[in-house]
Chain length 415, copies 2
């Protein structure tokens, strides 16, 4: 039996979600767009309105402020390119992004810099992954066009206080976009305090290929996908009704009980790590209540996350790592670099995303296997023991560098 | 029992398609991107490769030339904006589009004109909806950057000969994009003769929210959605594996028998119209073999398509119209204008899209109802009888105007 512990990458679709979607595959065929006093499109139209209401309510925004998209990547690209290009004649061309933003935020921003004359500055984060409010305030003096931050960080789980950050931005008359992909439904959120927010379905037991963008009323935006009246002319294309219905059902199924369960599983994981492993550090916010429920991440000394993953895979456990070797980019996670972890240390990163389909028994078995794997790997560790001793001392003295280790690549996406 | 005869808007998902998708919702959770020698992503990776191969084979292109997207609108926007912006420093800023292109082609082109200094010229079409090759050749002397045409037209069914048009473009060293959304699987096509092609899943009994772009090797393209290594860095985002698997299964299910059946249903519809209705003209190519199989469209004199739709709806039949009143744009179809139909005539348009789930018995019942509705509407027709008499004469004398009636709107998509 395979045990999937990587629910921040993707999740199992809830049976109730699949059930809610099914009639929209095989019975309710007509697009809602056909509903011009026509009875064939009525059910799809009602389903679309209903889904929009569920999602708007969850974010505490108006239904007219929800644009359905194909997921996180499209929502982030629409928000950032759409806002920047709609304001390209403004005085400012500067955009500020948290140094721990997701690649679907970083890459559209790099495209705006490369092709449209925008400027990007990264807001520094502290060791816990929170942006430094002082640095944000300092950068805001440059009168940027937009600020973008993640709400809950996918790699280290840190949850930003968006109320405080929205206040800082708005005091300076600057708009704020927040990527809520990993926090949506897991952290109670009033998105109406920000100007744009990204959410996605596939991380809350909804289908892949569906997401949404919250766009505050009267906010200018140049659509990424032109060609129709759908989504208030902000996003063309025949509406993915089964997907949208599934997304909304997933929101309904993400009850307080689910949050309690995944929080408990996370706490249990933390206990098991403390009891069974030596020489590791939990990454992200020190206060576990300021980390995503269901999220647990750590760096384990003297081992490679990649090797851990391979061994765990043989034993049918799936987790994630920010280790360089595991990513197709072949470089250390920019998030782990940004919180000041030397590459040697971030190589030992491991990350669990726990869902309602996981059980404590799975974690009991997992920690036994992980303990043995770490022991075995350390016995044959190729990692420089001198460096590790030094790092241990630095950490004990609270001295490790927080310098930026961001690798700004020059990936040529146009070939 | 409702009878859906609008299969060029959307289709019922095939049971085999839903069955193929289901395990990817609830069992195979891990994204293929996780497949770095990791067994959890293997099934998704294999499913993705397999789907890509099925679709590439169907188009006679290489698997590396297929980029999965969220559907027609995204594929068309990616092709047109992506190609134009990747070549924005080229000498030419001119793009040529068939006057009967879809809105998801027209609108991104208008955005390129409005925001990026491109120029758009429309290639005239004849009464049958084919682009005039002479006009194309004439426009090609202006050394445009790109030409875009639909393969099969959604409103009038006309199928362009892409081999000839590709030759004309390539002789002039100009690239060709073809929107194959409505012809894919219905017309055997060698897409490798063109440079880019758009296809979509939801018109062939696959799920909504999935499509693809064929992009010829080494063709430059600026991605619409940045942020990841997926789809060869051309389209970021967690792959919609269930949707992609469903898309490929739909291709497999679209057998020659299906094509025969819908062609037969179309021919039968044409016979029924000829036997039971007076004063109507079939729109699109005169040669029915040069119209999409399963497609039947006509303009019926002295009536409003919108009124026909309302009556048919009460009787549980769903068809489409290009009538002004039926579209949210409140103007006559640009396609019907482009083939030279006066607005008064295009108001009487009606369009059927027939699928393998339709039966002759449904059409028998449909034509009886349609005959009665047309008779009733004509009895109380508000349409100018003088104009209609005049139009009839013009038509009989083959005189009706082919002047462009395109309404270029100034819709402000940035608010």
């Amino acid at each position: 039996m395979k045990v999937f512990l990587d629910n921040n990458a993707s999740t199992r679709v809830d049976d109730a979600v699949l059930e809610a979607m099914t009639p929209f595959f095989t019975e309710i065929i007509s697009p809602p767009s056909s509903e011009y006093g026509n009875s064939f499109g009525v059910e799809a139209q009602e389903a679309l309105s209903n889904a929009r209401e569920i999602i708007a309510n969850k974010l505490n925004v108006d239904t007219s402020e929800i644009i359905f998209t194909s997921g996180q990547a499209e929502s982030n690209n629409t928000a950032l390119k759409g806002f920047a290009l709609a304001n390209e004649k403004s005085d400012s061309k500067l955009i500020l992004a948290s140094a721990v933003s997701h690649s679907t935020v970083m890459d559209p921003l790099k495209s705006l810099v490369k092709h449209h004359g925008f400027e990007l500055e990264l807001i520094e984060v502290n060791k816990e992954g929170f942006i430094k409010h002082d640095h944000l305030r300092q950068l805001l003096k440059k009168k940027p066009l937009l600020v973008t931050i993640p709400h809950g960080n996918v790699e280290i789980g840190t949850i930003e206080d968006i109320n405080i950050i929205a206040n800082i931005c708005h005091e300076n008359d600057v708009k704020l976009h927040v990527d809520m992909t990993y926090s949506f439904c897991k952290i109670e959120t009033d998105a109406s305090v920000v100007d744009m927010a990204t959410i996605a379905s596939h991380l809350i037991h909804g289908p892949k290929g569906v997401g949404a963008l919250y766009l505050r009323k009267k906010q200018r935006l140049r659509p990424l996908i032109d060609g129709g009246f759908q989504e208030n002319r902000k996003r063309a294309g025949t509406e993915n009704i089964p997907g949208i219905v599934g997304f909304a059902e997933a929101v309904k199924q993400f009850t307080p009980e689910v949050i309690s369960k995944i929080t408990e599983l996370r706490d249990y994981t933390q206990e098991l790590f403390n009891k069974n492993l030596t020489e590791f550090s939990i990454t992200g916010a020190k206060d576990k209540n300021k980390r995503l429920p269901g999220h647990f991440s750590a760096v384990i000394s003297y081992v490679e996350g990649e090797s851990i993953l391979l061994y765990l895979d043989m034993l049918n456990f799936m987790v994630a790592t920010g280790s360089a070797c595991s990513s197709k980019q072949l470089k250390a996670s920019h998030v782990l670099s940004a919180i000041g972890l030397p590459t040697e240390i971030s190589h030992g990163s491991i990350r669990l995303g726990l869902s309602k389909y996981n059980e404590k028994e799975q974690l009991d078995e997992f920690i036994v296997q992980l303990g043995q794997i770490v022991e075995r790997l350390r016995a044959m560790s190729p990692v420089d023991q001198d460096f590790m001793r030094e790092w241990k001392e630095m950490k004990e003295n609270g001295e490790y560098t927080e310098e930026d280790h961001h690798h700004h690549d020059d990936d040529e996406s146009e070939e």
